[in-house]
């Protein structure tokens, strides 16, 4: 499970002095921080895959703007949650940013409590997302490890059919079906039949 300790806040702002100040504050609050002077710097130097969030300046003249970078990143599945920072405090811009999936929209100068709360919420969201994704991947892997017969049994069983009926359909005896069933449960690391049904719904298996 990922925690705040392993997460990194990526601060992107073209203003060096503000960037440094934000990094100092987040660092003093116990967070890992990396700074970037603009969208280009971020794309070149970001180590994708890690947990964390992005603290993104809205207006960065001479390069892509914050919202432009956000839209480009939103296409990726390893995208990090974004907290916007703006010097304009334009409400409509904030609404648009939130609608496009930003976690928060803060105006400069930003209060310490607001900043830390927004950044921590973004990190928590990212950690939860990552955990759900990991779980999903694990289930997919387990499902793929089933033999064709086991897959067949898994589908039939979770569709509510009796061992006897399945055995008849597949032209084998009930004991074999019971064995397959036990094997499936083992591969998914579960002991209860209800959990198998839950997995079937999560994997979207009819």
């Amino acid at each position: 499970m990922t925690t705040e300790m392993q997460a990194t806040v990526h601060v992107i702002d073209d203003d060096e002095s503000l960037r440094t100040a934000l990094a100092r504050l987040l660092g003093a609050a116990g967070l890992n921080v990396r700074t970037y002077s603009g969208a280009g710097d971020f794309l070149l130097n970001w180590q994708a895959g890690g947990a964390g969030c992005i603290l993104l300046d809205v207006d960065m003249p001479g390069g892509p703007s914050g919202p432009e970078l956000h839209n480009a990143l939103a296409q990726r599945d390893d995208a990090l949650p974004v907290v916007f920072l703006t010097g304009h405090g334009d409400i409509s811009m904030g609404v648009a940013a939130i609608k496009s999936g930003a976690v928060d929209f803060l105006t400069k100068p930003v209060e310490r409590e607001c900043l830390l709360a927004a950044v921590r919420a973004a990190i928590a969201q990212n950690c939860a997302d990552r955990e759900a994704q990991a779980k999903e991947r694990e289930l997919q892997a387990s499902y793929q490890s089933l033999s064709p017969r086991e897959k067949e049994v898994f589908v039939q069983v979770t569709a509510g059919r009796l061992n006897k009926q399945i055995a008849y359909d597949l032209g084998t005896c009930e004991r074999t079906i019971k064995a397959h069933r036990a094997k499936v449960m083992e591969k998914f690391h579960i002991h209860q039949f209800v959990d198998l049904i839950k997995i079937a719904t999560r994997l979207n298996i009819e």
Partner: protein, 329 residues
């Protein structure tokens, strides 16, 4: 003061008018009925008259205000009107860009606030890194100065200085500026080539403002020549009368020219490509030139470098050929 007088007239007039409306009904009241009994049956026509009176009063106020305005406008001299104009045009620049100004100021303020917060958190630790805190304090001071510099620049932009309109030789002012920038140019290895005409170039305007305009253009040209070989570090500066009645001031450098993509933004307040630029130089030049009834134009010279040309009307000086030879005076 005048406002107060208008306001004083209105209540006085309204008391008289109220008396006029109510007077007859009070006068015709015979002793039998209570006074208010007499008031209400005639409510309708009284209400109508009352509304009419309010309207008349309103019109009266508007008329008084308009009259006052016309009078004072008549009294104003041309020059005074122009001060307002210049002020207004600069305010428009500032008004349109209030968002940018907010940005320019919020940036250092944001840094100051976050630095102070960081220092506070650091000092709360058992073993604070005092060197880091010292660095933070230095940065806070730097950003404080930066914010105040923005405020200072914006104030110069909106300041209501009364321009002094006089007739003068623009070349004299241009030479003064050259003396001013010569030491800077020399230290940066920049040569300024001047092309002045032998005749005087008379204009009517504010020398202080026009000096500021030419200075801003020269400073930009010198910035554009930064880090270029000395053979390239040249500026051409000229003030001439290319046509009767028209004065052209040209500042041309041999630098890398204007960024093509950003041509539209050059004159926008706070547009800058320089690390420590404020982006107020060119908008100020433009507002000064337009205030003098002129125009400014920027282009890249075909042989390289940026060229800024502003054109303002020449002053008509009686008894002197203030334009190309051969023109009738």
């Amino acid at each position: 003061m005048k406002q107060a007088r208008v306001n004083a007239i209105t209540p006085a007039a309204s008391v008289v008018l109220w008396f006029f409306i109510l007077g007859p009904s009070i006068a015709t009241a015979d002793g039998e009925a209570p006074l208010e009994g007499r008031f209400w049956p005639v409510e309708h026509w009284q209400a109508i008259v009352l509304i009419a009176m309010v309207v008349v009063q309103g019109l009266l106020i508007v008329a008084l205000l308009l009259k006052r305005r016309l009078c004072s406008e008549g009294r104003n001299t041309m020059a005074e009107g122009r001060v307002e104009l210049l002020h207004a045009s600069r305010l428009t620049v500032v008004g349109q860009l209030s968002a940018s100004i907010a940005h320019e100021i919020n940036q250092p303020l944001g840094a100051i606030l976050s630095n102070a917060d960081a220092a506070e958190l650091m000092l709360a630790k058992a073993d604070p890194d005092l060197d880091e805190v010292r660095l933070i304090l230095a940065d806070i001071r730097k950003d404080g100065l930066r914010a105040s510099e923005v405020v200072r620049q914006v104030r110069t932009l909106v300041q209501k200085r009364k321009p002094k309109f006089i007739e003068f030789d623009l070349q004299v002012v241009a030479r003064e500026i050259l003396q001013l920038v010569a030491p800077i140019a020399e230290s940066r290895g920049v040569t300024i080539l001047t092309e002045f005409s032998s005749e005087a170039v008379h204009v009517r305007g504010d020398p202080v403002l026009l000096r500021q305009a030419m200075l801003n253009l020269l400073l930009n040209a010198m910035d554009a020549l930064m880090d270029l070989p000395e053979s390239q570090a040249k500026i051409k500066f000229s003030a001439a009368l290319p046509q009767p009645g028209r004065v052209d001031v040209v500042v041309r450098d041999y630098g890398n020219g204007l960024p093509e993509l950003q041509r539209d933004n050059l004159f926008s307040a706070f547009f800058t490509t320089k690390e420590h630029g404020l982006g107020l130089g060119l908008p100020i030049v433009r507002s000064i030139v337009e205030f003098h009834g002129g125009r400014i134009h920027a282009e890249n010279h075909s042989d390289g470098g940026a060229l800024f040309r502003f054109t303002i009307p020449a002053a008509y000086v009686a008894g002197e050929a203030n334009h190309s030879a051969g023109e009738p005076v």
